[in-house]
């Protein structure tokens, strides 16, 4: 299987799907010659032309609104928010319109559209270019929220997202763009709404998303040498979320830790913990269900502050040791 980066895997999915389905087109800012702020759509203008690699003025609400309009009449737009933070400019079209149109019209309308949004901190881009807003988006019925952590999942989930008949928020993490992994050539999908056990373990279940999956797996390998066996679950899809896999795991391990970069208050860790404590897994819990999340602050510019604002490997390690030794 060829190796490619997370960024290349997403590009590959867009590329293949545009070849396969002429209804698919890209719409967003600087996605042509510039290739987008991270170079993800680089080369696509030359291949598909300006009609299908549709560069817009700086007008985010209308990018999302136009994607919705096109979707309603049979196209399959993939819109790009240059940074996830700019999604906040589009909340009317996304939250009041795209998310609700099918329901309001009694199931008569469909809005098959994808909005790509690179999120996350770690690049020094500061408060307005570093947010993790998945919990906010998950709260709006009608939106699907997808959030891959590996190149394999990124390609497979992008193909599923484009083919899905609903608005899908496709969240990418900037720090993952250069990470590499095996990605099959050709067509395959990763289903929306199915989580994956990324590592088996008997002592503690950790649920983490995007870059936190990578950090947690590293720590898990290290602690395995000391006899602490962590099970790592990546939900991959935040909404709909496959909680059954998590319940199964907690029934086995008896311990739960949820890790995300997004701010703690109102974060999706609370959702997972509620799902677990409200399920049959409750009887198996040997310790309080815990969460490790971003601080409740905007992301700071200064490098050390920025690092300290979100869980790092050392924080994850400390938390696992605390749970393993019963000191919480």
């Amino acid at each position: 299987m060829p190796e490619m980066t997370y960024l290349e895997a997403i590009r590959q999915a867009l590329w293949d799907e545009m070849k396969r389905d002429e209804r698919v087109f890209l719409i967003g800012e600087d996605i042509g010659r510039y290739g987008g702020a991270f170079g993800l759509t680089h080369g696509m203008l030359d291949e598909f032309g300006p009609e299908r690699v549709r560069e817009t003025p700086i007008s985010e609400p209308t990018i999302v609104g136009a994607a919705l309009g096109a979707a309603l009449v049979g196209m399959r737009p993939v819109a790009e928010m240059m940074f996830m933070d700019f999604t906040l400019l589009t909340l009317d079209q996304l939250g009041n319109q795209a998310a609700k149109v099918r329901f309001m019209f009694g199931g008569k309308a469909t809005a098959p559209m994808v909005i790509r949004m690179p999120g996350g901190s770690g690049t020094g881009a500061a408060a307005q270019h570093s947010q993790s807003l998945e919990s906010l988006l998950m709260h709006i019925p009608g939106l699907k929220v997808v959030n891959p952590s590996t190149p394999y999942d990124a390609k497979g989930l992008m193909l599923s997202s484009i083919r899905d008949p609903n608005p899908v928020c496709f969240i990418e993490h900037k720090l993952l763009y250069k990470t590499k992994g095996e990605v099959p050539e050709g067509d395959y999908t990763v289903p929306i709404g199915v989580s994956e056990v990324k590592r088996q373990g008997r002592d503690l279940t950790i649920v983490a998303n995007n870059v936190m999956v990578v950090r947690t797996l590293k720590v898990a390998e290290k602690l395995a040498g000391e006899g602490i066996e962590v099970e790592v679950i990546d939900p991959r899809t935040m909404r709909p979320m496959d909680t059954e896999t998590i319940i199964e795991s907690v029934c086995k391990t008896g311990r739960l830790l949820v890790i995300h970069e997004a701010c703690q208050t109102g974060g999706w860790a609370g959702e997972v913990i509620a799902a677990i404590t409200g399920s049959r897994a409750f009887d198996y819990l040997d310790a309080p269900a815990r969460r490790l999340a971003g601080k409740d602050i905007p992301i700071p510019y200064n490098r050390a502050l920025e690092r300290a604002a979100v869980p790092q490997e050392e924080d994850i390690e400390r938390e696992i040791r605390a749970i393993a030794s019963g000191q919480y």
Binding site: E29, D30, G32, R33, Y34, A37, F38, G39, E55, P57, I58, S59, E60, P61, T62, D85, F86, L89, T123, G124, A125, A126, A127, Q128, H129, K295, D296, I297, P298, P300, Y301, N302, R303, A304, L305, E306, A308, A309
Partner: protein, 344 residues
Amino acid sequence: MQEAKSKKIEPRTTKGDYIARARRLNLSDEQLVEFFSTMCTIRQFELMADKLYAMGKVHGTMHLSAGQEAVAVGTFRAVRVDDYVLNHHRGHGHFIAKGADINRMMAEFLGKDTGYCRGRGGSMHIADVEANNLGANGIVGGGIPQSVGVGLALQMKKLDQICVVLFGDGAANEGVFHESLNMAALWSLPVLFICENNKYGMSMDVEHATAKLPIAQRAEAYGMPWAYVDGNDVLEVYETMIEATRHVRSGRGPVLVEAVTYRYFGHSKSDRNLYRTKDEIEDWKKHRDPILRFKGHLLHAGIFDEAKAAEIDAEALNVIEKAVEFAEASPEPDLSTLTEFVYA
């Protein structure tokens, strides 16, 4: 039917003897030399920022305004020091022209505790609220609607300050631009809208992003006076802004000025300049550089000589180097303060 209020404000004297024009504006030799020296300071700041970035000393991104110095100086010499300013992401020059402390700017750029924002904001969020500088903005167009509120408050408090809001050609295509122009005009608010048209919004040529040019003419839709000026001619910018601020300050409502200029560096660190040619950049640098042009006029009029001009530029560099020393010697923010400043 209501009478159309809209008109294009033209600089009163356009051609002719450049320095005679300055005299008519009551500018002294010292003031003209100060225009030059502040433009040099801005240029040196931006060149240094680029250098520091290349040396790996900057964590994060930045947007440099080299080439656009005349807009900054021409504007901020025409407004009062107590006027409010709302800025955009490419704001170093505006802040320097408004009189910001270069040391604290540089410290913020390097994320230090002595910076204007205690290292929280960085290049894209420099602000000096005490000096009525309400900050740069990472969201394109983000400051524009706030100018309506600042103008509204000034009007309600019956103060004679105005609000200056700066944004790019790209930002003029955000919906809030239109909403704000309409509301400011509707209520005759004291807001000076300045669109700094540097020809590109990131990689997007203004011609490809804007259905009808000039951008300033959109003011007509809101019954607002407008001007379209050579943003690389500091005197023309100054003269236009003097006239525009007079209008705004007198309570007759907002004005929209579009200043045409050009950015020399890439949009930000991710820019590979694939959307424009080297020749185009060189052409602007050689033939339309705001500092060289203005220097030429001052030399021609005998206001200073080459040696003096070089000395001023060297002093500007000196100021910037001192600022780097200050910033590098400054402490990092204390980690124990991580969660401060979120709420008042």
